[in-house]
């Protein structure tokens, strides 16, 4: 059946992406949805929920509010809460009911900003797109508002990491490993958007020589910074043993030339023969494919079930829109590296290697999550 998931999971929705991206930035995130839905957005998909404060709220939208167009109630509630909390910003986002009612979040945000004096923005989430769309729009909105000033470049080569959320990287040391690798490659970190950095770090983003987009949800912000400050960007995640050196070299070249690069898609999966199938987010999966090919010589193909620009995929990679397509691609593969929730649609004679992805299985396999950054890959392929 087309675009149906009967057996496997689906990826976290855009609203989860917003909550995850903005979690650490001191902003107030208000999801206009029914009471109780916060556990969907911020508990099941959010490893930081129980140990790190945040300001993520649900508006407790009722049927009557939706039918009657009670936008004023939302505006008044958010305004009152914001006066107590004094957040750095206010982000409003929707869910399926506001989508159907046609709620105009940018306009409501303008009213809230006028009343509170706090920067507010409305995001076009609906629950109908993946976490990448929400995370991307949320980060771009923050950077659009807070990174307006062109700062002098730092004395030593420096970089921002853009597009980091636990939905793609969990909280297993992977981001710390990327920072350590970046430092080892000769780059000082300006900010990591948006794990482990403060809003002030992000305000200084224009001081970086180059940006590293570690997920496709970082590309729009990287492009914004390129257009605004001329900062080039490179897309990739330093996984495996040999690919990190290649990625470091791409970063240095980009910093020198000002040209962007996509080492994660600098592959060719269109050749004959069986390949390892890697379904997932395009930048990470592409980087992993490249790393496996470099470290082992085993050919790989990315299966992309999420939003991704064409330039993030290599020839021969495949967009998959439902589990039937995933199953068909798995049946042709020499092996599958994927979240354990893909396993039921992998034929028994095709080796399956578990790689938990929080955006797909939430906290179910969190204890198994792997840090693949700058180290030998754990599988015998």
């Amino acid at each position: 059946m087309k675009q149906i998931a009967r057996i496997i999971s689906i990826h976290a929705a855009d609203t989860s992406g917003v909550c995850s991206m903005l979690y650490e930035l001191g902003g107030m995130v208000v999801v206009h949805d029914a009471s109780g839905c916060n556990s969907t957005y911020s508990t099941h998909d959010e490893p930081r929920w129980y140990r790190q404060d945040s300001m993520i709220y649900i508006s407790a939208l009722t049927e009557a509010d939706a039918i009657l167009g009670n936008d004023e109630k939302l505006i008044a509630d958010v305004t009152a809460a914001a006066k107590d909390l004094a957040p750095n910003f206010i982000a409003l986002c929707g869910a399926p009911v506001p989508l159907l009612a046609g709620t105009d979040f940018p306009a409501i945000a303008a009213e809230i900003e006028a009343r509170t004096g706090i920067p507010a923005f409305g995001l076009h989430t609906s629950g109908m797109r993946s976490y990448l769309a929400g995370a991307s729009e949320a980060l771009e909105a923050v950077v659009e508002r807070f990174c307006a000033e062109r700062l002098p470049r730092t004395g030593v080569p420096s970089a921002n990491i853009i597009g980091a959320t636990p939905l793609d990287f969990s909280v297993n040391g992977a981001i710390e490993s990327i920072i350590k690798w970046l430092n080892g490659a000769g780059f000082e970190l300006v900010s990591c958007m948006a794990m482990g950095s403060t809003p002030d770090d992000i305000r200084r983003a224009s001081a970086a020589h180059v940006n590293l987009a570690v997920s496709s949800c970082g590309i729009a912000t990287a492009e914004l910074l390129r257009k605004r400050f001329g900062t080039p960007w490179v897309a990739g995640v330093p996984v495996g043993e040999r690919f990190p050196a290649m990625l470091a070299s791409a970063l240095k070249t980009a910093a020198e030339t000002g040209e962007c690069a996509l080492p994660c898609a600098d592959r060719d999966a269109s050749g004959e023969g069986k390949k390892i199938a890697i379904p997932g987010e395009s930048v990470f999966s592409g980087s992993l494919a490249r790393a496996i090919e470099l470290d082992t010589g085993v050919p790989c193909r990315v299966l992309c079930p999420l939003e991704a620009e064409d330039r993030l995929l290599a020839p021969g990679d495949l967009r998959i829109f439902d589990e039937d397509a995933a199953a068909a691609a798995f049946a042709e593969a020499s092996g599958v590296i994927a979240d354990p929730m893909y396993a039921p649609v992998c034929p028994p004679d095709v080796p399956f290697f578990r790689l938990p992805h929080e955006a797909f299985s939430g906290r179910c396999y969190r204890k198994e999550s792997l840090n693949l950054i700058d180290r030998p890959l754990p599988w015998r392929l």
């Binding site: 159907l100 709620t103 306009a107």
Partner: protein, 254 residues
């Protein structure tokens, strides 16, 4: 780009005013898009010689997919006016307001404005601002000015007042502002006096006074606007004058 939304009571002549205005802009050499935002989907028919365009909602229903090209849901009418109709759901079912929002979202995805590069966009909107969908044409990025069409009839003025209040309610949201009133005469006793009283009470100018004219009906029977049929008629000149006024204002503010 001049972007106007035309509101008014059902049956008051919004589509007649809008399509004549579109034809007038076209006669003045402007590239025009007219988007009918009414489930009846008859806003643009007199720009198209009586041969209607397939409404977006009908396209979705018949093809079970979204349009991939603007040409699939648009037709070019008199003077090169690009005609689009949102249409509506199956009568008695679905949600017409949501249909308008969906259509606007589709048109944005198809990059209508970027591709067509219009000078003027006209939104012809169903009778009243009944829900969020029908306010969509005045949201930021769509129309920046509203024209309210009314006659001197009591219920038409009542609707005009509701529309004006609704638009005022959105003042803080960066929505469109009411530019003025188009008096579409219906041979009501002391008609101008009544409409002027409404306009003055709300601080609005009457930007056009359209006489009751059999010529409008005669040309509509032929599937034309009167501006297309005979631009030298007095009634046509009223539409041309309104178009010129709005263009002059836009030029002055640019």
């Amino acid at each position: 780009m001049l972007k106007l939304a035309i509101y008014g009571k059902g049956g008051i002549g919004k589509s007649t005013v809008t399509s004549n205005l579109a034809a007038a802009f076209a006669r003045l050499g402007k590239k025009v898009i007219q988007i009918g935002c009414d489930p009846k989907a008859d806003s643009t028919i007199n720009l198209l010689g009586g041969d209607p365009v397939i409404p977006v909602m009908n396209f979705l229903r018949e093809h079970d997919r979204e349009p991939e090209r603007i040409e699939e849901i648009a037709k070019t009418g008199f003077g090169g006016v690009l005609c689009i109709e949102t249409g509506g759901p199956t009568p008695g079912l679905g949600c017409a307001g949501r249909g308008i929002i969906t259509t606007f979202s589709l048109l944005a995805d198809l990059r209508l404005f970027e591709q067509y590069k219009p000078d003027v966009v006209l939104y012809d909107v169903l009778g009243d601002v009944v829900c969020g969908g029908f306010a969509a044409p005045i949201r930021e990025g769509y129309a920046s000015q509203v024209l309210i069409v009314t006659s001197g009839e009591k219920m038409a003025l009542y609707a005009a007042n509701n529309i004006n209040s609704a638009v005022h309610n959105f003042e803080d949201r960066g929505y469109a502002a009411v530019r003025g009133v188009v008096l579409n005469r219906r041979a009501v006793e002391r008609e101008e006096e009544k409409v002027r009283a409404f306009a003055d009470a709300n601080g609005l100018p009457i930007v056009a006074d359209i006489p009751r004219s059999n010529d409008i009906i005669r040309y509509e029977d032929m599937g034309k606007t009167v501006v297309e049929g005979d631009p030298d008629l007095d009634v046509s000149k009223r539409f041309l004058a309104l178009a010129q006024l709005l263009l002059n204002e836009e030029k002055a503010s640019a």
